[in-house]
């Protein structure tokens, strides 16, 4: 029997040491290829850190716009502050728009944000939550399967992960493993985002011919833009969510003429027909942006997120950001589905939903692609619009 125990002990240690060594190799590989939590959710993680800091340092009344990459691209917090100040108000706005988060992930993040607000006994004067229709579709959710657990591992807190382990040990332990042993990066995420590229091709890429001259020029503009940007704004080179820019980006007035010219040319080329077609098809493929077949779980998650936020905000509204209807035209059934969802959000949360998809302040040439406002006229126009729209809540 002692001999047996020795063998079992040897087996036991072999498994532990072997797995530890394998996991060490995995961490080595992933770090070497830059596949870490920062690569997956860099802007979110930086935003979370920034939030902790701002809750201590920023004593003004706070405004937050929370949403997707459309918010990230379309809202300038510092410009908003300037507009409100010009109207006699004094607030501090922050951009909490994050690309790639569907409402389920946004809900987890919302819980963390609310935890921080409660921990610092702070409130928001105004919270605008973007409802992004195409981020709430079944297609979008299916496309996010590979990152569901990694994102959850990074957005849930320890207590929630423990609850998950108790409630569903299989999934809970996977999430715990991803969080504590893999720095938030699962095998699925690595495969999908870091290894799969040579084997992936969207049907759009296969079906639409690109204009080589435009592509080449855009590459030249990129090559010129980034060093120039870094030179002009050296403090913002290493951040995805920059505290000093309040989660937004440089104001148009802060950019040099040269940088402005590069951007202007880029935005002009970006609107080339074939690029817009490619972008539209990609959005259809990955997000069902035209037909909008909503995912029930994502709609519920969005509603829950609004409920989670409500207690920390004096004023809260859900908004839909401008839509480029030159390229994105929804059939009547999709519009009806959207209206139904909007009505449901209002009914179940008691929060007003404002539809800014078509507003006079923003025109279709202010987009950089089929969905995002560009960083010049688009962002400025929409930010000004929001300031004017909500000034009555912020200016005494």
């Amino acid at each position: 029997m002692p001999g047996q125990r020795q063998i079992f002990l040897r087996i036991f240690l072999t498994i532990l040491i072997g797995m530890a060594a394998a996991m060490g190799l995995v961490r080595g590989f992933t770090e070497a290829m830059g596949a870490d939590s920062q690569a997956l959710l860099g802007r979110v993680l930086e935003g979370q850190q920034g939030l902790k800091r701002l809750l201590v340092e920023d004593e003004d009344e706070l405004v937050m716009v929370y949403g997707s990459s459309m918010t990230d691209a379309g809202f300038s917090p510092r410009q908003f502050d300037q507009h409100i100040a010009a109207m006699g108000g004094d607030v501090s706005a922050w951009n909490f728009g994050f690309g790639g988060l569907n409402p389920m992930f946004q809900e987890f993040l919302a819980r963390r944000i609310v935890d921080d607000f409660n921990a610092h006994d702070r409130r928001l004067k105004l919270l605008l939550i973007e409802f992004n229709p195409f981020q709430t579709t079944k297609t979008r959710r299916n496309g996010a399967k590979a990152i569901e657990e990694p994102y959850m591992s990074l957005l849930l807190n320890g207590e929630e992960i423990f609850d998950k382990v108790v409630e569903d040990p299989e999934s809970g332990l996977r999430i715990a493993e991803i969080r504590y042993l893999r720095d938030g990066v699962s095998a699925e995420a690595i495969t999908t985002y870091f290894f799969a590229e040579p084997f992936q091709e969207s049907s759009a890429d296969a079906s639409i011919e690109k204009d080589a001259a435009i592509e080449e020029r855009i590459n030249e503009l990129f090559a010129a833009y980034f060093p120039k940007h870094e030179q002009e704004f050296p403090n913002f080179a290493d951040c995805d969510w920059c505290y000093d820019w309040k989660g937004g980006s440089a104001l148009a007035s802060e950019r040099s003429a040269e940088l402005t010219a590069i951007l202007a040319e880029y935005y002009s080329l970006a609107q080339a027909d074939y690029r817009m077609q490619l972008d539209r098809l990609e959005r259809i493929e990955t997000s069902d942006i035209i037909d909008l077949d909503f995912d029930e779980d994502l709609v519920v998650a969005f509603i829950e997120m609004v409920r989670v936020f409500k207690p920390i905000a004096d004023n809260i509204e859900v908004i839909l950001l401008p839509k480029n209807d030159d390229w994105i035209q929804n059939p009547p059934e999709a519009v009806q589905r959207l209206q139904d969802v909007i009505a449901r959000i209002e009914r179940e949360t008691g929060v007003r939903v404002r539809d800014f998809q078509k507003i006079d302040a923003v025109s279709n040439d202010m987009f950089s692609d089929t969905t995002h406002l560009n960083g010049r006229e688009g962002r400025e126009a929409f930010t000004r619009f929001l300031a004017e729209e909500y000034a009555h809540l912020l200016v005494n």
Binding site: I7, R10, I11, F12, A21, A22, T191, F199, A206
Partner: protein, 468 residues
């Protein structure tokens, strides 16, 4: 609970700790294996534990009754009860809805619109495996191939033994039961081989998951697919199903071996087969030998071979799932096996067969592999119509395939993966023992392979055979 998940890692480590380091007596260990196995099974759905335990209890007592029966008629009656119970469980849980839906469809042919109620019950995981395993015990006892063994806990534990519970191999009582009466003492050499098999299995499972994507391009396509995509899809599915199932059973055999239990091999390089008969000697060996021993031979074996082969293969197909595609798959294999037998009797082919020329072997391999691939189309397609459409795609030259660089890369990766899996298995079978001796290479390679499997994966990692 799936082998390649953190929860199984935790489960197995805790199991080893208690089984190997804390418990010392055989009986507590036996009880502990049973409890651990039921926990393992209950992780899917604890409601089906009574079904598993219940069927093992009934078969255990029926086996004793068969052995103790005074007359042949009594023996037959007890055996019939066992077979009826096991097939009844399978029938209710697995085939009832299929039968009802098929009946309703059949009636519509005569203009009768029948709305038959369906059960829509959840299929208990592993039911096809453990009912066959349990049934083989009573049949063996009836045939006098083994004596019934006293010990209900031993029998239940053998049936519920967690490594092989949910997806086989389908063990014979005489292979596994004695190991629970005298719990095996693990050896370091055995455990080391277990680690090799487990790692080999996890690599195959990882590759199988990666092949699911190209396979889906064909089988889940909404529109037309190119010739290249069609062949890539079929090859990918061939790799997926092999990696998935052979990978799972390698992990099962490896996990069992680590704690000292010996489970026979279930796959033997099936895509190296040189005839359909040879394929079934290499693919899911525990099922094909079960069907041979308990069905084909019971039907009369070579007497009326055509009929018996067709019945065996049709039921073998149906064993995999309650759908006409599986029946068609079984039928197809029945036809090609029968054709192989028939061709083998022709003088001209017999001469070729005996010639042993390499060219002939390659030709036979190519034809067999082609037929197996066609079979996989029937197996994987959503309907028979869809299968025929895909088979049509595979043989329709509609101009040059759109061989974009991405498509070629996918095809190349699929082929490399498929070949690698077989080469790896060949290496484990032919060179595994020698490799295990070279500990300075062996362990780093195992760690590296585990790391690769931890590094890559695909979102859907359920085992295909769990549904059977």
């Amino acid at each position: 609970m799936v082998f390649n998940t953190p929860i199984f890692f935790v489960f197995f480590v805790v199991f080893l700790l208690i089984y190997g380091l804390i418990l010392v007596q055989n009986r507590p260990r036996l009880y502990f294996i049973l409890v651990a196995s039921l926990v393992f099974y209950g992780a899917w759905n604890y409601r089906f534990i009574p079904l598993l335990v219940g069927s093992s209890v009934i078969d255990y007592y029926l086996a004793l009754a068969i052995a103790g029966a005074a007359t042949a008629q009594r023996k037959k009656l007890y055996l019939a009860l066992s077979v009826a119970m096991n097939l009844g469980i399978l029938g209710v849980f697995k085939y009832a809805d299929f039968a009802l839906e098929s009946t309703a469809s059949f009636l519509t042919l005569f203009g009768i619109e029948a709305t038959l109620p369906t059960l829509a019950w959840v299929l208990p995981v592993g039911i096809s495996f453990y009912t066959f395993q349990s049934m083989s015990y009573t049949i063996d006892v009836y045939r006098g191939d083994m004596e019934p063994r006293k010990g209900l806990v031993h029998f239940t534990t053998a049936l519920a033994f967690f490594p092989q519970l949910v997806a086989g191999p389908i063990l014979r009582a005489r292979q596994i039961l004695p190991q629970f009466h005298e719990l095996p003492v693990p050896t370091w050499e055995g455990a080391r081989h277990g680690f090799l098999l487990f790692t080999s299995g996890i690599v195959k499972k990882t590759f199988a998951d990666l092949l699911a994507g190209p396979a889906a391009v064909l089988f889940e396509a909404d529109g037309p697919v190119s010739l290249l995509e069609a062949w890539t899809g079929v090859l990918a599915f061939a790799g997926q199903i092999y990696g998935d199932f052979a990978g799972y059973t390698d992990m099962a055999i490896g996990a069992a071996l680590i704690i000292g239990f010996k489970i026979p091999r279930n796959f033997n390089l099936p895509y190296f087969a040189v005839s359909p008969v040879d394929f079934w000697r290499r693919w899911h060996i525990s099922l094909s030998t079960w069907l041979r021993d308990y069905l084909y031979i019971s039907l009369g074996g070579r007497n009326q071979r055509l009929r018996n082969v067709m019945i065996t293969m049709l039921l073998g197909g149906l064993w995999h799932g309650a759908a006409w595609t599986f029946v068609a798959w079984g039928f197809f294999h029945g036809i090609i096996i029968t054709a192989t037998h028939w061709l083998g009797q022709l003088k001209v082919f017999a001469t070729f067969n005996k010639s042993g020329s390499k060219l002939m072997t390659v030709l036979k391999w190519a034809i067999t592999f082609y037929l197996v691939l066609i079979g996989w189309v029937l197996f994987r397609a959503h309907s028979i119509e869809s299968a025929f459409e895909i088979i049509g795609n595979l043989h329709t030259f509609s101009g040059l395939p759109e061989a974009s660089s991405v498509a070629i890369r996918v095809t190349a990766a699929t082929l490399v993966t498929l070949i690698y899996m077989h080469l790896q298995d060949w290496f484990v079978i032919a060179r595994g023992e020698a490799f295990e001796q070279k500990k300075w290479i062996f362990w780093p390679v195992l760690v590296l392979l585990q790391a690769i499997c931890l590094l890559v994966g695909a979102p859907s990692s359920e085992f295909i055979y769990f549904q059977f």
